[in-house]
Amino acid sequence: MATYAEMQEIFDDIRSDFRYDHELNGCLNCGICTATCPSAQFYDYSPREIVQLLWTENVDQIYDAMQEKIWACAQCMTCAARCPFKNSPGGLVAIMREVAIKHGMDSARDVLRPFGRVMLKLITTGNQLSPDMIQPDHFPDWGPNIQKVEGDLKTLRKAIPVKTLQTTATAWEVSLKTSVEMYTIWEMTGVLDALELMDENLFDVIEDFIDEKREEYEDWLEEQEEDDDD
């Protein structure tokens, strides 16, 4: 359990985010956000409750909500589209999640662990999901529609009249140059720092991979120059 000072610090980090004042204008407690929220249908999660906790600066309960509740939001932002005050409960949840990661909270670590596979895929291929990852067993929430993905994947993909999409181990081809640019963006926006906080082992693997790819890119650039010189 965190001390009050720690909880206050977490709240201060949320409140000082540059988006905070834009996402939270006040609250009339009308509940249209919770009424319209798909996650509230299934989980112990209420966007109105999140807004109220922040608006009333209830640092203790904000900390509590960050243990589990904020991770139930699907970030669909229907709440933001409906709120008569133009609050964005989903936007506030996004800020809270980032602060949870920054503070290395266990809840963030637990929730994000299963996404390590996706993260690795994303860094190594530039795609978060590839056709060969879509197996019926992995997507029970798709219901009977999942059967539609069964069949000879290679042939099905060949039927797509776009050459860069005729792949199975990646969703589309990402060029080396684009990959290297993505690494720079993830580095500069703090994504890799967050990853290091959440999963050090995965971070090490990914960092090695990035170094390799950057070297590959440098070599490729040199080759191009040599070709030009010829």
Binding site: L28, N29, C30, G31, I32, C33, T34, A35, T36, C37, A40, Q41, S46, R48, E49, A81, R82, C83, P84, F85, K86
Partner: protein, 344 residues
């Protein structure tokens, strides 16, 4: 020197202004764009008025008779003012029927426009026949029978949604329309009087039955008519297979979303600025405030004023207003306009 005031708009405020000008011994020219006098209460067929409980056609009807029977008041119906020349004390107004009138001052009693519920499609108006506005429900009360428009059955449950077109940044309506809470409490009691077995629920963000309306409408509707008030803003109205309406809201006690069946859903529609206000502002050279209503002059010493000298306003032209207060303000604006004539 002109002994005449131009009054624009024949609703409660304009009728009151014209009658006041005549009572003070001056003349009024009353211009109304519709083909009859009476304004929203008559044109939209309101039922019993707040707070008198009198039928609109009787109460406002008396005001119309008073004005139409007054030799000092010249009435132009189905007419607009197309041009206003001159200055305070000496205006020339051109009317759409070709007439011109010399007037010393002007009262803009141009009122409001009902919010069009089509602009909140998630609440089902225009999609489901049993979703109505308060004005349509008042007309049903006037007909003496409460039934579902879809198939004529007597509704078991009626929901009234407050703040439709009010207090909503998503659609640029950042004002409270002031009257809808009390109108809805009154309407709920009228529904219960005509159809005692029907249950009426009112969904609200806050209840604003201000002043003396608190016990006469809000408390009375609960204590004597068992109207249920639920604090929740509805997310959407859909229909079930059996044709009933499904209203999706939050049960704020347990913080869970709930879906409740209803037979009729009523939108308590708000008061928009008159949709003609841009044209009115242009024709009369007056400013509009940030929501689009007629801009007020300094209130304390220039009561009833606009941004242009010699032009006055009153009632719902300034912003959401009750009928009684519109009538009082119309009288004040009429007499303020008369004071310009006396001085000129």
């Amino acid at each position: 020197m002109s002994d005449t005031v131009l009054v624009v708009g024949g609703g409660p405020a304009g009728l009151s202004a014209a009658a006041g000008i005549s009572a003070a011994g001056f003349k009024a020219v009353l211009v109304e764009k519709e083909d009859r006098l009476g304004g929203a209460p008559i044109l939209s067929g309101y039922a019993k008025l707040v707070p008198s409980g009198e039928w609109a056609k009787d109460a406002i009807g008396r005001m119309v008779e008073q004005v139409e029977g007054d030799a000092n008041i010249q009435v132009h119906k189905s007419t607009k003012v197309t041009k206003l020349d001159g200055d305070a004390g000496n205006f020339t107004a051109t009317l759409s029927n070709g007439d011109t009138v010399q007037v010393g001052s002007v009262v803009l009693a141009t009122g409001f426009t009902h919010f069009d519920s089509i602009n909140k499609p998630e609440w089902g108006f225009g999609t489901f026949p049993d979703v109505l506005t308060t004005t349509q429900m008042e007309q049903m009360v006037g007909s003496g029978k409460i039934t579902c428009p879809s198939d004529g059955r007597v509704p078991e449950r009626v929901a009234i949604l407050l703040c439709v077109g009010s207090r909503d940044r998503q659609i640029g309506r950042e004002w409270c329309s002031k009257i809808c809470c009390t109108v809805s409490a009154n309407l709920a009691m009228e529904i219960k009087e005509l159809s005692p077995e029907t249950e009426v629920f009112i969904y609200y963000m806050d209840i604003r039955t201000f002043g003396l309306y608190e016990d006469k409408f809000y408390w009375k509707s609960q204590e004597e008519f068992k109207v249920k008030y639920v604090k929740a803003r509805i997310a959407e109205v859909t229909a079930s297979d059996d044709g009933r309406l499904l209203v999706k809201g939050e049960d704020t006690l347990v913080k869970r979303p709930i879906v409740i069946p209803f037979d009729i859903v009523v939108h308590a529609i708000g008061m928009d600025p008159n949709e003609d206000n841009p044209e009115i502002a242009e024709t009369f050279g007056v400013g509009l405030e940030k929501h689009g209503y007629i801009d007020k002059a300094e209130t304390y010493t220039n009561t009833c004023g606009t941004t242009r000298k010699g032009i006055y306003s009153c009632g719902a032209a300034y912003g959401p207003e009750t009928i009684d207060d519109s009538i009082a303000q119309g009288k004040a604006a009429g007499l303020r306009a008369v004071a310009d004539l006396s001085r000129a």
